[in-house]
Subunit: 545 residues, 2 copies
């Protein structure tokens, strides 16, 4: 039996676009003589459709699109994910469903049993969990079809009380097929392969796995769909961060005994590739082509610019250098050098006049008071204002250049450098930004080495350095990682050897700056715990604060 | 049996504060000879603790606080809500728990069965649903204790497959006690009373109900705890929007046959009281006392100022008038009149110099291009910058003055008038803002009538009116209400009689402006569907857009 795996970049709510991609893949699979083509979870609407699911009209469009896809399934069968109504009065209104389409109509519906509701997932918000199990007979084979999380209840600490695949296994299937929407983080592909292999090992059945690819606002999907034979050999692995269609012969998959292993990509290369896809898809899906950003000469805006140029093309990213009286000479030079290295347009707009004008306006109120955070923020906000004015006039999306370390401790100015339609490196710690810069420079000097080696500074007052107000980034980032990604509390951190005072200071900074993060742009998610929809904190909370 | 109901304003994560309030209430209940004192759901941590629940350290503090409260329960019993660990390996890590404390220790634990996971609720993110049921014997009575949602599976369209109270009813209890954290909206108190009365009618048992009161960032809790006897008579109703402690004799509750009905408060008075509490608690819980806002002479900032003055005191709210070349004379006069009526401090800071300075800076780029949204936004952002500079210098929280109609269609400037630590009327449609203004003026003219009667305008270009770019607010707000609160799609709206073209235009505006709302301050929630945590939409979605 030949089965096509269709790894597609869907667009949430864009039913016509999604239908066209699905239809094209069906035709391609037919032309390659596939018996069955498999699409991913909620393919019809894109994932995650979020509260669009609460609209009857939206579900009607899901249903209508399934009908249209079914009509294409002549001479080929398809498995397609969509949302469907729960016919019973009791329970939530919808099921997360895998449709089995054959002979121009819906032959079977498989509902998702395990509904992830942690981190970025909200599936229990919409869907009723399945409680009845059946396989699908197709061309003499029994298919055990599951949806994403359904295979994830493995290991020591089980999140759910049942295992849908246990139920299906009792029905003696020949093949497991899992359709998924498994978002990327730099550890996820490894975790995913491990979870899928645990299932193969347990049930001794071949497994075909079809994932989403592409970015939906902050969520990145890396693809990497798989075929695994019953001996636990990954026989086929699809592209990462790209659409792909692959036809496997399931008997051939079973026969294979050796496959050359792909080299394991580095964490930084994964982050790099994910971010480039994230920027590109954000613009494409919103119908924009051009970006603008403030280029300071520092490492954060430098890395952001390079990623944006890779995503959008050098001519489509415009850098604005916005020096103030506190900018060092090397800042402007480093920024210019980078823009020139990239061949990307840039302008220099000094902010002195506007800064002076605000100082004049505020003089009657500020008289006699020392220069402080207020004046620092005026500079950052003046820059933000100029960038937004250019954005409004010419139709650019402003890219935010803040990193995760800054976002964590509130080292940034709301309505100033925290502006932007999209935060490119907001889920990348400062130490990782340095790694990204070195990765970008791996073959030649794109980012001036001076940008990478000089001490980080916001340059908002004379001789300012980040290290004036923050611990060294090596220590800061490790504390942040343990607190944010690993949910370690103050006692655990102190036990790890971090200084009591620093731990309490950092944790307090993180918690009291929730109000700032509430108003930041969406941040492309590359870590297992990013700020935004996957980390939900009270603003008025007083915990470790 | 005498039972005290303690309706308390908790502070999320502030265990010491919450313990002290609980301890004080226990002592007060003792002094009034109560046998039992009942606190609300997750009283120990405050509600909702959100992802703080993912920290072991946080759960340890919950446990430690329960131990401290138990130690106070000598000569009196208590029911207290807290989070507790799931002792089993399978399933989520926590239970949402009602602790029954007696003789200085934990006598019983009741776990929540029905976990709301819609709108602003995320309980399935943290908690395992209960599956085992028991009553608590206390002084010869059997108590059926449930937690909030456990009593809400009533009516025609059941959200859950089981009814915990059905299970408890089989155990022949004498009394129902429900501890809750039921957030306010202008319909909620009515809905709540109806749901509770349906339970009393079904089980023919008296019911004591203890709710939270107070604001947690955007979520308002209105209190209104109740005693209902088995005949369905509401015998006692506690205060709304205020802390309260009431001792009821359960035999007396049962004996009552008549209680004078409270007058039903108007929707606008409820919104008013909720917003005042919301502003007050936001400042108190963050440790701030002073607010600043931009006072334009328009109705939105006028209503916001009055609410803030009620919440914080007239001397603690500073208004800044920021006229531009496009401001009408009456705007400044109306704004000044209002500040004078309130006896509240204000300053006038013309923005012309800064606007000119930006025009000069941008001239080389904008030359020959017509005045448009870019220049309009420069004005709004200049105002935002000045307000934030004053906020930073003097420690004010900036209040946002945007309304829900604007937030819905994106009629506002990011990093300009959309700035603020808290949006006071962001969940109040423009037509409701007018009603609020009239309500405020019910006894005398606080808000100048001219502010209420003149046509709304952003005054960012000559002779601008809101009606230049938007339908009349009567129509706009009704379409928005049907789309946002009622989840009606385009076809339903057109069937209601709204014009096809207007419907599509408005829905598109709502959906394509998700990116702006993503970056707005938290909005005090007064409606059944507010922007923010209760309405989760994709930014790159292309649905009705």
């Amino acid at each position: 039996m030949k089965i096509a795996l269709a790894q597609i970049n869907y667009h949430i709510g864009n039913f016509e676009n999604n239908f066209k991609k699905i239809s094209d893949a069906i035709n391609k699979a037919k032309s390659e003589k596939a018996d069955l083509v498999v699409f991913s979870e909620l393919a019809v609407s894109g994932y995650p459709p979020r509260d669009f699911l609460e609209f009857d009209d939206f579900i009607n469009r899901c249903d209508a699109t399934i009908e249209k896809i079914a009509a294409e399934c002549i001479g080929i069968a398809a498995i397609v994910g969509s949302s469907t109504r729960n016919p019973e009065k009791k329970g939530k209104d919808l099921f997360n469903t895998a449709f089995f389409l054959e002979d121009g109509k819906v032959k079977s519906k498989i509902f998702k049993t395990l509904l992830p509701n942690y981190d970025i997932f909200d599936e229990y918000r919409y869907f009723e969990p399945n409680a009845e199990f059946h396989t699908v007979d197709f061309k003499g084979k029994k298919l055990a079809i599951t949806i994403c999380e359904d295979l994830w209840n493995v290991g020591d600490d089980l999140l759910y009380r049942i295992n849908p695949m246990d139920e299906l296994f009792n029905l003696k299937p020949d093949l497991m097929i899992n359709i998924a929407a498994s978002p990327f983080d730099y550890d996820q592909a490894e975790k995913r392969r491990s979870v899928l292999l645990q299932n193969v090992e347990k049930y001794k059945l071949p497994l075909l796995y079809v994932n989403h690819v592409g970015a939906q606002t902050e969520l990145l999907f890396d693809g990497g769909s798989l075929a695994i034979n019953s001996k636990g050999l990954i026989t086929d692995e699809m592209k990462y961060f790209e659409e792909d269609l692959m036809v496997v012969d399931i008997e051939e998959v079973e026969r294979k005994t050796f496959v050359e292993k792909r080299p394991k990509p580095s964490k930084i290369s994964l982050i790099h590739d994910g971010l480039v896809m994230g920027v590109r898809n954000y613009f494409e899906k919103l119908g924009f082509t051009k970006a603008i950003l403030g280029l300071s000469g520092g490492i954060d805006s430098a890395v952001t610019l390079v990623l944006a140029v890779e995503a959008l093309g050098k001519e489509n990213v415009r850098s604005i250098l916005l020096p103030s009286r506190f900018s060092s000479d090397h800042s402007v030079k480093d920024a210019e050098d980078l823009a020139k290295n990239l061949g990307s347009p840039y302008d220099i707009i000094p902010i002195e006049d506007a800064f002076k004008s605000f100082n004049g306006i505020l003089e009657p109120f500020f008289e006699g008071l020392p220069f402080n955070i207020a004046e620092e923020n005026i500079q950052a906000r003046t820059r933000g204002l100029i960038l937004m004015a250019l954005s409004n006039k010419f139709g650019y999306i402003l890219l935010n250049t803040s990193n995760k370390s800054e976002a964590a401790v509130g080292y940034g100015t709301l309505y100033g450098d925290m502006n932007g339609g999209l935060s490119v490196i907001g889920d990348v710690y400062k130490t990782e930004v340095f790694e990204l810069a070195r990765y970008i420079n791996r073959d030649n000097e794109i980012i001036p080495w001076n940008t990478i080696t000089k001490p980080p500074s916001a340059e908002l007052r004379p001789d300012q350095k980040d290290s004036d107000s923050l611990p060294d980034y090596d220590i800061l980032d490790e504390i942040l990682y343990q607190y944010i990604e690993k949910r370690q509390g103050p006692n655990e951190l102190i036990k790890m050897g971090f200084e009591d005072k620093i731990v309490h200071r950092i944790l307090k900074l993180v918690n009291t700056n929730e109000y700032k993060r509430y108003q930041t742009p969406p941040m492309l998610r590359v870590s297992p715990k990013a700020f935004g929809m996957g980390r939900r904190m009270p603003i008025v909370g007083k915990y470790l604060a």
